[in-house]
């Protein structure tokens, strides 16, 4: 292709036309902070881990449960607490493992794949926590409804109000939950859409070439 040859000729001719950066400037540059996508994914990932660990710690409500007439359920919840901690540690390990693998000396495709994998770990972690929040919410309501002596008068009211009242109660609770989950989802779409759009697009482009 004639035009491409022309371009190549021009490209070579102008190889040395750039303003040269001095050694001093390079020294300064390597001591500055990177603003790469990977760095931001790492920072946001760590914040997410801390956030959900914080939520887990805050929602530790042993005293409240002691006042319920829940019997064995308390034991189950304790077991679940341990399992939950183990799962979170597993996620953190995965995140770390994926992160250290990321290297700019890999091929472009491998690099992108590794970044996306790191991101996926955190996404799964967030979804896991949302599901836990959902289950805790439902369990919490059921426990409060059936086992909390303080709520007994309200229970009476609902039970005598018929199915409509009961449905209203359940519907209302689920509605609040749905709004919360949608908000979290939107937040993630925005946050990572901003960070990952270019990377995703380029990864798809590469994959398309190698189908």
């Amino acid at each position: 292709m004639e035009e491409l040859d022309l371009l190549k000729k021009d490209w070579k001719k102008n190889e040395n036309s750039f303003r040269q950066v001095s050694e001093n400037e390079i020294y300064k540059m390597i001591h500055r902070n990177s603003s790469s996508v990977v760095k931001w994914i790492m920072i946001i990932g760590i914040i997410e881990f801390l956030f959900w660990i914080g939520i887990n710690l805050i929602s530790n409500s042993d005293d409240y449960f002691k006042n319920l007439n829940a019997g064995n359920i308390l034991l189950y919840m304790k077991i679940f607490g341990y399992v939950n901690s183990a799962i979170i540690i597993f996620f953190i390990y995965q995140f770390y493992k994926n992160y250290v693998v990321i290297s700019t000396t890999d091929s472009t495709r491998t690099l992108m794949k590794n970044i996306l994998k790191t991101r996926k770990t955190v996404n799964t972690y967030v979804w896991y926590n949302l599901i836990v929040v959902f289950l805790s919410f439902v369990t919490g309501i059921l426990l409060a409804y059936f086992c909390n002596p303080e709520i007994a008068p309200m229970r009476d009211k609902i039970e005598h109000g018929g199915t409509a009242m009961a449905l209203g109660f359940i519907g209302g609770s689920l509605f609040i939950l749905a709004i919360l989950i949608t908000l979290v989802w939107l937040f993630y779409k925005l946050l990572y859409g901003f960070l990952m759009r270019k990377l995703q697009r380029n990864y798809q482009e590469l994959k398309k070439i190698d189908l």
Partner: protein, 164 residues
């Protein structure tokens, strides 16, 4: 020891900085963006430098890290085309061999290249740098055959942009 490493890195980078400049030229428009990407590539090269063992040439290694940074790590979008870069091509033509028709054609050519996506730019870049398909396929992580096929498609695409 760390100082030695730093010194050796700075020296080699200074000697080979045109590689980075060329990538910045292809992937950014405007002086600020050029500087910004140049800095990010330098940081990434420095971060990867301890792993550089000298079993490949510094330039081969630098090509890969620099391209990866431009395509993958650099956050700013490279799609927008400003009028800046069109003018940029002007001062690349030296006075002595001024040829109006050639200049027009080159200008169109640069415009067409800027319209390509990030991956296509990478292929064109390596073509302009006389890299063989083996290196292209290794750098991008695609097969040699597919790199060839893609390169031909890009040539077709450029032709189409030039002669609609």
């Amino acid at each position: 020891m760390n100082q030695d490493l730093e010194q050796s890195f700075v020296k080699q980078l200074k000697e080979n900085q045109n590689i980075i400049h060329k990538i910045c030229r292809l992937y950014t428009s405007g002086e600020d963006a050029h500087k910004d990407l140049f800095q990010e590539i330098t940081i990434q090269l420095w971060k990867a430098f301890p792993k550089f063992r000298g079993d490949s040439k510094f330039t081969t290694w630098a090509y890969r890290v620099a391209l990866n940074t431009a395509i993958t790590l650099y956050r700013k979008s490279t799609r927008s085309i400003s009028t800046m870069e069109f003018d940029n091509t002007k001062h690349f033509i030296k006075q002595e061999d001024y040829n109006y028709e050639e200049e027009e054609q080159l200008k169109l050519m640069y415009q067409a290249v800027y319209q390509l996506n990030d991956i296509e730019k990478a292929l064109i870049f390596m073509y302009l740098e006389d890299k063989d398909y083996e290196e292209i396929s290794e750098t991008l992580g695609i097969s040699e055959v597919n790199a060839r096929v893609k390169m031909n498609r890009i040539k077709g695409k450029l032709r189409k942009i030039l002669n609609p």
